[in-house]
Amino acid sequence: MTQLGELRDAYPKFVEAGVKLYAVSYDDPEALSAFAAANDIPYPLLSDSDSAVIRQFGILNTEVEPHEAPFYGIPFPGTYVLDADGTVIDKHFPRHLANRESAEIILESALGKTVVNDSEPTASASDGEIQITARLHGGGGTIKSGILRRVIVRFELPNDLHIYGDKVADGMVSTKITVSGPEGLVIKAPLYPETQPLRLKNLDKEFEVWSGAVEISIPVWANSYLVDVLDEHRARTVPIVVQVRYQACNANTCLLPRTEVLTLDVPIEPLDVPNLEGLGFSAQRVTPMDSQEHLARLLKRFT
């Protein structure tokens, strides 16, 4: 539900980029019609009410037992990204039930490149000619319970300089990114781009390095504890601290190792939840559609 709203907010970017968007569920057309009207959904919501396509694709959620009304028939949530020929060029199927990919990341899968958004929280440092920028990418730079975002650390290195991957010479420093945040920020392992081999003649050894523009991405998401600060402390932003440790060298000499600490001030947004009795949790925004009658029809399928 939250993801559908994020896709709506990012929809103009999909249109601009020439990427079509479709969303499929086991809901009936009547429920989808009410949801689309109440939430201004501009893209097709498709009704697979007997879960035929979900089964055909092999993505029926097998953790839900057939007797578990009204949930049986849902898919493992995920996204396929198609090229112009209809070939799957990427897909996103997170394991955790609460995780969804950010709309921007889905769009970028289709485009094969990162789309910079000026509204995203950023922090930067420079060390001589080296520029380092951290930003919170996805959801327009906000954080919401469950939705995967990326902390992206970008190095811009002058032509002759490189920084090191894991393999470094004795006494040298490899590049290390450490992200920390408040309770409830779940931080995953960094995703590093491929390194290039570099042979240093005077040491007769080969190292793995990056040069030019280097982007390291760290997936993060918020669980219920983090989003609760909206209610408990009336906080509207949380700090995410990015520590960057690196050493830059050219073919002959190295600069001293450096540590930069960049702090991102990240806005938190509530989760969108259905308008159903008993679901009024903290830090949530109730969807402007009364779900009761639609839920009754879903339940009727099981009788």
Partner: protein
């Protein structure tokens, strides 16, 4: 504390117990359907305007994202 419901091992609170199928993590190596590099099978479904929509016909020659979500109702 306004938080209610049942907490899972990842700190997500929700109304149903964590033993309910909808609250379980997808099993390791779960099926994610058509593979990267494969042609996505075509399908025809009804949209929110009660119109039939055939995916690859509607898409024409454009790239696309096809999102499978759980429900717009709950």
């Amino acid at each position: 504390m306004t938080r209610r419901g049942y907490e899972d091992e990842y700190g997500i609170f929700a109304p149903l117990p964590t033993t309910a199928g909808v609250r379980k993590l997808a099993p390791k190596g779960f099926s994610t359907g058509p593979a990267i590099g494969a042609h996505l099978p075509d399908f025809e479904l009804i949209d929110q305007h009660n119109m039939r929509l055939r995916l690859h016909t509607d898409r024409g020659n454009e790239k696309a994202a096809v999102v499978f979500f759980r429900s717009a109702v709950w």
